[in-house]
């Protein structure tokens, strides 16, 4: 899933499965075979099923580095807190995979976020994959199956939401994770800061989205959702530099000069 491009981004290692693999390993050293047995309960003669387990183990072991192999056994390579909850796991994964810019996952995510409303005319995963492959030579090998695998992790990591055969770009969750985990290291909750400072802070933490000019729809929509939920406040002050959001007719904020992030964002 998070291998260097080109990567088939197989569907089988879903976030739920990878987390389960990690949690099994966290119970104590375990061989790959025993782990497989514990996750299939006696169906280990089913090669396909074993392969599914193996792929999930590989994502945890080789791609995310949560597991390590020691003396022929798998064990946790990170503190147990990173798998204590789905949220902790998500934040851990996000902090890794969005900085690995040479993966198919990252490259496709970046392409997709840049499509903005055009995405709505790409009616299914196949069209999405073909369009991306046609327009992006680096991702020319991308196929529908890869995008089908990508969608689980993309929605899990908070890039957007699934709706039938489409992806709704809205990075509310991704932004909320960053604001909850890292914002307070630089700013203070409840304090109004300049939009430009916020943009500068965010730009290094959101490498999958280009926010150097008008912010993409996915980021803008996420920000608007956080605003509507009362977790942040967006304001446009006169004679201040404005951050241009993706323009949406009818929305009260198509730009902002100042932002206030409330501590409730950490809920």
């Amino acid at each position: 899933m998070f291998k260097t491009n080109p990567d088939g981004m197989r569907m089988e290692p879903t976030p739920e499965r990878v987390l389960s693999v990690c949690r099994m390993a966290a119970r104590g050293k375990i061989t790959r075979e025993s782990l497989r047995d514990a996750l299939t309960f006696g169906k280990n003669e089913d090669k396909g099923l074993n392969q599914e387990v193996d792929r999930s183990i590989d994502v945890a072991l080789k791609e995310l580095g949560i597991l390590k192999m020691k003396d022929g056994s798998l064990e946790l390579a990170e503190p147990a807190e990173v798998i204590a909850s789905a949220r902790a796991f998500r934040r851990y994964v996000s902090a890794k995979v969005f900085y690995q810019k040479d993966t198919t996952f990252f490259m496709f995510s970046k392409w997709l976020i840049a499509q903005n409303e055009r995405l709505f005319s790409l009616h299914n995963w196949e069209v999405m994959a073909k369009t991306c492959a046609a327009e992006n030579s680096e991702l020319s090998g991308l196929d529908e199956n890869a995008v089908l695998g990508w969608r689980f992790w993309a929605s899990f990591l908070g890039l957007g939401y699934l709706s039938r055969t489409m992806f709704l770009p809205n990075m509310k969750l991704r932004l909320q994770d960053l604001l909850a985990a890292e914002f307070a290291q630089t700013f203070r909750y409840g304090e109004t800061i300049r939009g430009t400072d916020f943009a500068f802070w965010l730009s290094s933490r959101l490498p999958e989205a280009d926010i150097s000019s008008r912010w993409p729809l996915a980021v803008s929509a996420g920000l608007r959702t956080l605003r509507d939920l009362g977790l942040i406040r967006l304001e446009t002050w006169q004679d201040s530099s404005r951050i241009m959001l993706y323009s949406v007719d009818g929305d009260p904020n198509n730009d902002f000069s100042h932002i206030t992030v409330y501590e409730e964002v950490c809920r």
Binding site: L39, T40, F41, R90, F120, G250
Partner: protein
Amino acid sequence: MSWEQYRSVMERYAIKTDDMATEDAYFIATHMPFSQLDVYLGGKTESAPKHMTEEEIFDNLVYNPRNAHRLIIVRGDNGTGKSHLIRYLKARLENSASTVYDPAKEQLIFLRRLNNSVRGVFSQLLEQQVIRDPEVEEKLRRFVRSSDSRDEASFKTEILFAYVAAVSNDLSGSVYKPVICRDIASYLSDSRVREHLLREDGAVARCYNIITAPSNQVLKDTKVFSPTDFLDERGKSSIIKAVKRQGDPQASDFAATLLEDDSEIDRLVNYLNRFTREVIQRCADISSESTKSVFEQLRRELKRQGRNLTLFIEDFTGFTGIDTELITVLSTEHGGDYSDLCRVTAIIGITNDYFDQFRDNFKDRVTHQISVTDRSYGTNEFLIQMAGRYLNAIYCDPAALRDWERNGAALEDLPISTFRPPCAWETVKIAGRDVTLYPFNSQALTALYEGLIVKSPRAFLKEVLRAQLKEYFDGKIYGDGWDFPLNPKHVQMHKGEHASAIDRLEGLSSKDRSRLKSVFALWADGTAAGVKEADGAITFGGLNKAFLDDIGLSQFNGIGAIVDQTTGESAAPQSVPAPDSDSVSEAVRPAEARKSVSRAEQDYIRFQKDIDAWYSSGAPLQYHADYRKMLQSFICGDNKQCGAVNWQDIGVPAYVAAERLSDISCFSIEGQDNAPDPEKVLVHMERSAESRDALQALIKLRYFKGWDFDGSAYYQQRLLTWLERNKAAIIEKVTAANDQQQLSVIKWCLALQYLRAMIFGRRADTGSPAEAVKSLFVPFRKDDQIRRETKEWNDLVQFVLSRNPEFDSALAMLQKSSAATMGAIQLSRDTSDRRFYRGDELIEAAEQLIACGWDIESELPADIPDKHLLYNPASLLKKLYPKIRSVMAAERKHADAAAARLTEWIGELNQENLIRTLASVQELFRTFNANGILGSSALRIRFEKPPVEMARDVMKWVTVLTCNAEDMPVQQLSAYSGNALNSLCDFLRDIQTIAQLAEQEEARAKKELAKISTFTGMEAISEAARACMEALYDQLEGMEVYDDAAD
């Protein structure tokens, strides 16, 4: 003029609130010429009509230089302007040159619509000195006077009994046989029926009104009886039933007839209405002949004077009771046998309903019909012109208008008001001069007219112009509490995103937000898009901001960026025009709405209106079932595709989400007409602007089959925001868990599986948590080979068997909810056992169960909801644990008894005693064998094992059964599950059988010995055998339980 004056002029003169006749100056100043009236020759309508303007009608029909006989009816629905046309024709005649109208040669009589009760008509006839017969005149005068002074209650009773008498005297048999008519009269006289008919707004009150309505009222209906007069307030036939039960025999018979068939009431209603004319004549004390004579005498006298008659009757309704007579006398053509009568030109206004009801009276008598249809007034141009004239009259100085009327009322001289709107505004031309439409514009006027339930000029005047202007003037007078504009049909803005954005504006009251939306929906282009015009003026949706300022909406400064028309710069890109199907309102775009639309489009438009009405006016949601399904699909996905909540990845098992949300009744929306069971609701949508947008998003998603539509980014974000706002609550409800309480569903299911296995005597490997899970992942079935010793255990088995579906559901829940499902949550219901499990959760649960000996009774929740997917396993466990406790007590008691009996045979239950006894049994069998004694071979085989081994088995059973686990029933269940009790009891039963067998054989041996006592050679052998048998018998006989065992 002040705002108070404008309002006063409107209500007192221009669009009067008291229904009194408008004075001539205002009547002429506001008169809108009818341009297309349908004119038929004769009283039939089969031939195609001619189309005439009102001027052509005047020239060709009213102006009557050749003295042709004319009985003209002006037909149309209520409020279409018949009276207005008749009044105009009358004024036109009166103001004509003497060559056209010479009062010396023409008697003009004008009977107004106002005051159109029988009494009112009589009053007008008296006032205009139409009645020449002193006797008739006195009679009518008496009636008019008496109806003023008479006691209402007694008059009403008189009316009712007039109907009763009319029915009673009906011998015609045309509708009912005379004998039935008497029954009806009796029925109408019944106290219950009478009371109901005499109620306020009842039939009698209606008739009373027709006869005596005050002079400031206008009668609209002359039908007296309706079905409600025979049904109770709830529309039920309780009164009829009561009469059937308790009325006098004749009334009861007729009540029974009414109950036979629903159509009987209609038949009665129509029958009674036939007598209204007769009843009115009776109550007014006028005969048919005297009514006729009124106009006959008039015509004769005018003839004698050398004059003719032109009669204008605005509304014929008031002639109810004497209408037939009047038509008869007016239809009599002068000349020939009637050369004593003058010529008559009668122009009579009647409603279409009235015409249809009495068509036969008219069809052979009427010379012309003028039909006022919506083509005569329903064009936009007509309405806008009409509004312009009324607005001008309202804004004009009344004195100037009256001067103008006195000076001939030439249209080109009509005073034009000096009213100045706050900004450039739309005008209409009257006689080439501009007249403002402020505060309306043509779009608003058209939209408001289209929103009328009854579309007529009168309704337009009262419900649109007067109602809106009243609010506008009140707003201007009082400066706050604005209600303008009214939006009775809740016409919605075309641009839903803008409507939604207005709903979210802070600093505006909800009423002002609603007004803003109404203004943009009705006055503007359906959007709130801001534009800065070249002259610097700001417009929103095409409306000048000055208008908004004028009506108390100055706080509105637009939504998003304002496009500068000169530079074209805009912070917001221009959106792609919405497809035609996005038309929100028929009211705004009637022409488009009338075009042929697909079913999907019709649904879409219906849904939009439903949702808007739900949010804007608090109306109940009509199509909530559709929306709830859409919501379900959005949240849960479908059989193949994922929904917007990634359940598995946030820690909710796919199976739990799929099962819990599979029932549509789990989804509710505030204001849905059938209130859901709150206990069942997992996803609830409250009435809010955000929910409105979310629902709009869902119906757009369905209609456009995807997200590729104008405004999708907006709606998507609103829908997702709604979801995020409610997600935590939804998850909490779906999982029935929160920070304080987590349900151990997997643990409960594992425990159930284990207990079922033990009760059925099946093996479960609990050597390790993983092995335990693996061995419990199978459906356990009862083994018919296993026989339990106690009734209690057998009852427990039956209990489990009777609850097998619940146990199986728990197993399904265990297997499916612990699986990591890839993709759509519905896939978790797949019956395949090829699954990728969340092994860590299963193993952890098994570990805990093993640690506590599978007894988690104390951990079960105190309160368990009934029939709850997640609680069902706990509920079953809660029933099971007490049963296990009592079964184990019974088993233990039984085991102790069996052990005690064995002790009596064997002595203390230990290895040594057992071996000795078993060795003796084997010796016995050998003896039998040596002597050719046949015994049970099965029994013998069971005792062939070496005594040591057998003794070890028995001791094992005894140990299991007597273990000290009385306070640990589940542990005891596990121990007893292998059926050691049955094995021990079988052993006991075998020992007893053997003893019995030995006794029998001894008796037989003795008998045989007696027979062969002479055979000495056998003595030694038989003595040895006897000694052996005796020893064994002594041993058996020494036991107290011998007799019992022998039984």
